[in-house]
Symmetry: C2
Subunit: 216 residues, 2 copies
DNA sequence: CATTAATTACACAGATCGGTGTAATCAAGT
DNA sequence: ACTTGATTACACCGATCTGTGTAATTAATG
């Protein structure tokens, strides 16, 4: 499918909803706001999505991306996750994991949202696990769980602190866990001591990319 | 101060707001709902809290508890955090970290909420750091950060999965990080392999306690 | 008993919420 | 030129939101 050409109206609605939902919260954004942002009538929005709930579902479904496959060796893929994470943190507009946020704000009643969130988290865990199995790690299941914990912990910390170095701290921890599991982990320790520049207003030419999608 | 005696009206309002805000989300709960739950008039509520925002602030302030001090050795205190975390997860009605949730649902604009969330997270990190310094850990700052990442990661994972064993997985990771930093960590490895009973509907006589408060 | 303070019921304001109904308008395709 | 489908403007619905004004009622204190 050619990625150019003018986007469908449905796509425009969805991507605008995505932006607003993610940035300001699902409950905080009304359908009127979304329609106004695009400059369309509310009727048009409802012609493409029969209800806000379905729009929310589409939003989360769109965030459910596959973890990137690459030819690189498993260790690099695993550690690379934390590098992508850090870039995501540094990118303007990062606001944590959309699935965790959705569960947090939609309460425990909403079962469908929780289900997709669980599916996403588990898919990431399995991605780690399969790579760990390639590395002949004994307890691939448990270590994979621990890696997802590191990822989500870094995300939560960055969400409140706005400190991208949390990704690096998590990466260092991941290295220790990997080494402890008998995995040969690549050379330099990347950074030492307390990550400098905590709570950074340090804007390194941040790009507005949306890499990582569901995070992470 | 004697903890018994009948609670103040303000206290009743606050504790009810706490329960509802935490359980169902701040944005999801209206002041009418809170007043109705207690059985008081909305006017009375506004006589004690001039606005919902101040009630929210009081809610978060109430969740800002000090990490429990004890005479136990630092390592046990650190690892004990994860045990308390697991009990919190198992307790009925656990719904993640109130500060992270508040930041997640109130969006990036609300500065006051983010500030108190940062303060809380940092206080927990410093608590870890001071204990680590007692253990003569070289990079106490960095390791403390990593421990908070583990805590928040376990919380996020449990929030979506409802799996209290995430706390144990985080604890095992913490042990590895501590050992790697030269800390002598206590004997048995507590559990091995994949934590059984993932996504547990397994109700072990869960208590309704609210220990941990702000988590963790 | 009289005073005072808290709480009550209740109506109401203005905004926003998700969602619908309708008729006019616009843009293609044939 | 005619038809078809999408989009528009716009009014409207009932519900809910935060917050206020007011006068009556209740409970404790002197």
């Amino acid at each position: 499918m050619p990625p150019d050409e003018k986007p469908t109206m449905k796509q425009r609605i969805l991507e605008t909803a995505d932006l607003l939902f993610y940035q300001r919260g699902i409950r905080a954004i009304g359908v009127d706001t979304i329609a106004a942002e695009i400059g369309i009538s509310k009727r048009t929005l409802y012609n493409h999505f029969p209800s806000k709930d379905e729009l929310i579902a589409a939003y989360l479904a769109g965030r459910f991306t596959k973890a990137p496959a690459s030819g690189k060796p498993p260790v690099e893929q695993i550690l690379g996750t934390f590098d992508r994470l850090e870039r995501g943190f540094a990118a303007k507009g990062f606001r944590g994991c959309p699935f965790v946020n959705a569960v947090a704000e939609l309460g425990s009643e909403d079962q469908s949202v929780r289900k997709i969130a669980i599916a996403f988290k588990e898919s990431r865990r399995l991605w780690f696990r399969d790579l760990l199995k390639q590395l002949a790690v004994a307890d691939a299941e448990g270590l994979a769980t621990q890696l997802t914990i590191l990822v989500d912990g870094a995300i939560a910390q960055d969400l409140v602190r706005n400190d991208p170095s949390m990704a690096r701290a998590a990466k260092e921890a991941a290295k220790v866990l990997l080494a402890n599991a008998g995995v040969e982990v690549g050379g330099e320790k990347s950074s030492r001591g307390t990550p400098k520049g905590r709570n950074a207003a340090s804007s390194h030419t941040t790009v507005v990319t949306r890499e990582g999608e569901g995070f992470a």
